[in-house]
């Protein structure tokens, strides 16, 4: 290219005057200007960059929980820093340096799977079906639910501080921001208008004080008559002592209650004399006593006796220990205790301070010993801070459970908007933690349930999924009076069968009931052979998440036993023994006896949502929540069947089955706003830079 700036000619004088300000010449000053084109190119370049950044931002915040991974191995997954859920440890935890090396970069190459569809033929030749099932992305990503509450990723456990405030249902939860196993616990937060569609908010309470540095554990909300919100929660201190702390919203006028403030003089309660430092947690919602004080209870234990301690306060800052509300020997530590009133006459919920005739009080405790939630109905005596069960033989911890499957740390709150009491329950995983780490998340919450006294039996509570879940129902299919002979299995064609709401009624033929032989048989769902074990009067019910060949199936069913006195005992079970061909998942059979009254048909409701199945018998008198991890009965391969495995009875079934739409889960600030704000700021920056540029030149 020709040099457009030829060298200045060397004058004969050998000296060239430098341009000098003092040399005022009359020659016009010609300033070199960048062509307009170059400006435009720079601005467009910045705009393109902005779009790109916004696009990346959108992708990162979208719900892509299991990251698509060509080779399917989670070695690759764990290498990406933002998705690495594994907690790194150091020598201080007593672990040798050696173990801290990230292992097996080589093995990820060798463990490379074929295309996303699954494992290549070659590796299948080696094993038989005793082989531990290699979880692939398709199976794992399917497990994520569509209308149950769960955060975008990582570990969750207990529900915390649920309440209805300024038009929003608030939900907090135990959360590990760093991984898919328990640890580093803080409070997650989400809000909803209808308990079904949610907006995830920033973390509400984090572990940044000495009194909660080892965990921001479970707590409850109290809304005072003047509208103030009080949050009490357990903190695990720097010395691993369990204490109770007070927190409140930073801005009570913010309906989303995004920011929270901890009381400057926390903790407000420490373990009292005689109570172990590690047996003092999960404060309840407070209620007003007749004396006008606020009262809470905190579960604990003395020896092997589970107890509930009673505290009174005027200001939630200083407390007086009143004594023990109730104790049950042999039950061990009571976690997440809850006390609430139920009406024996009406079908609405009651606010926590309700008392008087027509009101009974339920105490519930989560037993650390067996990780089940138990409740008992009784009478609360305000004056001497005690509670007495209606029936001591089914007292707390030795009687009825909220749910006979996997359901723990449950907590109720009073929804003052719709005058109902609502129950939340933590549903953990029952697969291997390796799978949880691989899929990047663990745990769900149950669909919130209304909870009422069962006035027909007087002994049970009734739980039922909140009616708002029905707004997700689409594509109804009815099956009217389908008759099944003994041993029959009938496919039900409903289309895609991974998100369903099933309501079914069963009638067993009367002759079979009369002819059945009385027996002393002590039946239990757990101890039985599941749905494959045939009896005269059962099992019969529905198979969900079953594949066409029934190699994988999860039966939800009734089993009737005729007792020696001629009375029938009905059991309601969920059988996971064949729910998956994988060998590293739990395959128990869950269930219990369910009271069936004269004249009642047998009825069940089943909510299927990918890896969770929530079942309700007799309108919610008995509930079973199960987690299942099929490898074949997933996506379009999942089916529903009706079955009757009784030997001697025919059964007539009528069903209504709906497919369920997915719920909406947004993130605050929501995706669109975030995209827009990133893009706008880049645009402004670009404009600013090009203006600056103009002035420089």
């Amino acid at each position: 290219m020709a040099d457009t700036n030829p060298f200045l000619p060397v004058t004969s004088s050998g000296y060239t005057h430098l341009p000098d300000e003092s040399h005022q010449t009359n020659a016009p000053v010609i300033r070199r200007r960048r062509p307009f084109k170059e400006h435009l190119i720079v601005v467009i370049g910045l705009l393109a960059l902005g779009l790109f950044v916004a696009f990346i931002g959108y992708k990162a915040s979208s719900n892509g929980h299991v990251h698509d991974n060509e080779n399917g191995s989670f070695q690759a997954l764990s290498r990406e820093p933002q998705t690495n859920p594994l907690v790194s440890r150091g020598p201080t935890t007593g672990v040798s340096e050696k173990a801290n090396r990230v292992r097996g970069p080589k093995s990820s190459q060798h463990a490379s799977r074929g295309p996303a569809a699954g494992v290549s033929e070659k590796s299948n030749l080696v094993g038989n079906n005793l082989r531990s099932y290699p979880w692939d992305i398709s199976m794992l990503s399917w497990q994520r639910t569509s209308f149950h509450f769960q955060p975008e990723k990582n570990w969750m456990n207990d529900p915390n501080g649920p309440m209805f405030y300024k038009g929003w249902y608030h939900f907090f939860y135990q959360y590990n921001p760093k991984g898919a196993v328990w640890g580093n616990i803080v409070w997650g937060h989400a809000v909803s208008k209808d308990l079904i569609n949610w907006m995830h908010l920033p973390l509400a309470i984090v572990s940044d004080k000495w009194y909660d540095i080892n965990g921001v554990w479970t707590g409850s909300a109290t809304i005072l008559p003047d509208g103030q919100v009080i949050m009490l929660y357990t903190g695990c201190t720097n010395e691993s002592v369990q204490v109770q702390n007070l927190a409140y919203p930073a801005d009570a006028s913010d309906p989303l209650l995004i920011n929270w403030v901890k009381y400057s003089n926390n903790p407000v309660l420490v373990p009292p004399p005689g109570i172990n430092d590690k047996d003092f947690r999960d404060p309840t919602t407070a209620w007003l006593t007749a004396e006008g004080k606020w009262r809470i209870i905190i579960g604990s234990k003395m020896g092997r006796e589970g107890i509930a301690l009673v505290y009174d306060t005027n200001d939630f800052k200083t407390y007086e220990i009143e004594g023990i509300l109730h104790a049950v020997p042999g039950t061990g530590m009571w976690e997440c205790v809850d006390l609430f009133p139920v009406s024996t006459e009406e079908s609405n919920g009651l606010a926590t301070l309700a008392n008087g005739p027509g009101v009974k009080h339920v105490i519930k405790a989560s037993l650390d010993d067996d990780r089940n939630d138990y409740y008992a109905i009784g009478t609360y005596y305000d004056k001497n801070h005690t509670w007495v069960p209606n029936n001591p033989s089914i007292d707390i911890g030795i009687g009825i459970r909220y749910d006979y499957g996997i359901f723990y740390a449950a907590k109720t709150f009073y929804d003052q908007d719709k005058e109902r009491r609502i129950l939340w329950g933590w549903i953990g995983e029952s697969d291997s933690e390796a799978a949880d780490v691989k899929k990047g998340w663990a745990s769900l919450q149950s669909i919130p349930r209304t909870i009422l006294m069962d006035r027909k039996t007087g002994t049970n509570l009734i739980q039922w999924p909140v009616e708002e879940v029905e707004s997700l129902r689409v594509n109804n299919t009815d099956f009217d009076r389908v008759e099944m002979k003994a041993g029959e299995t009938i496919p039900l064609d409903v289309g895609l069968a991974t998100q369903l709401d099933i309501i079914a009624e069963f009638e067993i033929d009367k002759e079979a009931l009369d002819k059945a032989v009385e027996s002393n048989e002590t039946f239990s769902c757990e101890g039985s052979g599941g749905a494959a074990e045939r009896g005269a009067l059962g099992p019969f019910g529905v198979l969900v998440l079953a594949d066409e060949t029934l190699a994988e199936q999860t039966p939800v069913y009734f089993y009737i036993v005729k007792a020696k006195d001629g009375f029938f005992k009905t059991f309601f079970c969920t059988d996971k023994s064949r729910s998956s061909e994988a060998t590293d998942v739990n395959k128990q059979i869950y269930g219990s006896f369910v009271p069936v009254l004269e004249g009642e048909n047998l009825s069940m409701r089943i909510l299927v949502d990918h890896s969770i199945i929530e079942s309700f018998a007799q309108g919610g008198r008995s509930c079973i929540t199960a987690r299942t991890y099929p490898t074949k009965a997933i996506h379009e391969a999942a089916r529903v069947f009706l079955f009757n495995n009784a030997t001697n009875a025919s059964v007539t079934a009528s069903l209504k089955i709906w497919q369920m739409d997915s719920a909406d889960f947004q993130i605050y600030p929501n995706d669109a706003t975030r995209q827009l704000s990133v893009f706008t700021s880049i645009l402004i920056l670009a404009a600013y830079l090009s203006c600056i540029e103009k002035f420089i030149w």
Binding site: V87, A99, L125, N128, D277, D584
Partner: protein
């Protein structure tokens, strides 16, 4: 003879208390290990760690978990060594070893930290979950090798599995105490 000893105990109550507490401490290991399915392994693991001399049952659990950690580490080292040896490995074994590496990673980076944190803070059910899961992960690893005469990790897997079962059993004792 017995009466004489009893008499002595009455006269020297202070010594008696000290004596019984010494007996109680050394009995703690015995008493605890008897509640696990692998008594010998439990006792030898505890006794080989000097901290067990004055540990309470929670401390004993942590000692077992520390041993689990070191055995799992060894297993992972062994897996990596085997994987280096590419030339003699058949693809099936290679793949199985890869899965085992994943499982052991979860034991070391997921189960064990979770268990230690749970034991420290008194939220024992998560220690139960972690130790039980370690056994599940080891079993899953071993099952990768079905069809072979013996997996190359058989002995190590067995040790790791047993020690995690001992740990889980001790945690159960803590919860039930």
């Amino acid at each position: 003879m017995k009466i004489f000893l009893l008499f002595l105990l009455f006269i020297f109550p202070v010594n008696a208390i000290r004596l019984t507490s010494i007996i109680r401490l050394s009995n703690l290991i015995d008493h605890t290990c008897k509640q696990t399915p692998y008594y010998e392994l439990c006792v030898s693991t505890l006794k080989s760690n000097p901290k067990s001399a004055d540990a309470d049952i929670c401390g004993l659990a942590k000692i077992i978990v520390t041993s689990l950690d070191s055995k799992a580490s060894d297993a992972l080292d062994q897996i990596n060594d085997l994987l280096q040896d590419e030339l003699t490995l058949d693809p099936a074994t290679e793949q199985a070893l890869g899965v085992c590496a994943e499982r052991y990673n979860v034991i070391l980076n997921g189960d064990i930290p979770q268990t230690m944190a749970a034991l420290d803070t008194g939220n024992y059910k998560f220690a139960q979950k972690g130790t039980n899961d370690a056994a599940v992960e080891v079993s899953a690893c071993e099952k990768e090798f079905t069809g072979k005469s013996k997996s190359p990790l058989y002995e190590l897997n067995k040790e790791v599995r047993r020690i995690s079962i001992v740990a889980a059993a001790i945690v159960k004792v803590i919860i039930n105490s």
